[in-house]
Symmetry: C2
Subunit: 198 residues, 2 copies
Amino acid sequence: MTSVAATRRSRITPEREAELYDAVLQLLREVGYDALTMDAVAAGTHSSKATLYRQWGSKPELVARALKHGRPGAARGVADTGSLRGDLRDAIVHAFDDCRIEQDAALMRGVGRAAHDNPELLRALRELLIEPSIADLRVMLDRAVRRGEIRSDNPALDLVPHMLVGALISRELIDGHAATQDFLATYLDAVVLPALRA
Amino acid sequence: MTSVAATRRSRITPEREAELYDAVLQLLREVGYDALTMDAVAAGTHSSKATLYRQWGSKPELVARALKHGRPGAARGVADTGSLRGDLRDAIVHAFDDCRIEQDAALMRGVGRAAHDNPELLRALRELLIEPSIADLRVMLDRAVRRGEIRSDNPALDLVPHMLVGALISRELIDGHAATQDFLATYLDAVVLPALRA
């Protein structure tokens, strides 16, 4: 995910890029992925379609980058609070804002649904959102192993992404409402940390 | 989910009912929920639409009952193997057939997507599939508490449905392929039982 796209994007200012991403997210919330057109993005941001395609290559790439931009705390790195529990709680607080969680869940559900029928969108989402989140998690877990909080051969180590993503998704299916920060913090203490024996 | 529907359904034989459900599942796999029509079900099963509506009331109800019928091991109850680990492994083996898991996952994904936009379908799925599965799980967990395998105040007790449903769904999102029996058995030993301290 480096050279070509990075070179392309460097032609516009970061402020202009942020403005474009915000407009894409707004359109996604209003009309959903399928009905979002590059024409509408161009019109809403006073850009030309040619510029959009030159900068981002495709609609899936533009949407995935807008979602990455819109993730609160995306570019802040992984805080070292001194313990795995502290690191994970800090990540939850910065990744999920309860005031926005319902709205964001609806947005991600719509995009997730679209990705099932669109391999290019799925690839962009994995590359720009899922894999970097798993990498961040890996940093925290490696640190906890080095601190001596977790044994390096604990079989739950590779399953932490499944636990957290699973908690986030299953909450709505099972209980009919989106996961909150409180629910995720409870899940952390009741499931994730005991499974890691941390 | 008792009297009215039960009375309605009692007018056809169990064999005929099973045949109808199989035809509905076949159509679901072929065309998906949205494109499935009561006309197509009627034509494919040599029934009249009036009969279908009299027996099941609506398309969501018919589809949810067909899915319940198609769940392997649905009506077998909850085996008592003597331990929570045995009970849960037995449930996994009977609920998921690896040869069908990809096909079933695609089917359930399609129906799940349709349910997001269709509250009546969501209600039928919750009532006929999700809630009975959670009730089965509760039977196993209560038994494990009585056996002394789990403390009754363990905070993970209420989160077992989220762990299992989460493992099932997140596997594909994170690793790009459906959960298998082996994956679920590993998850059970690495996450569910340690969280329960069982």
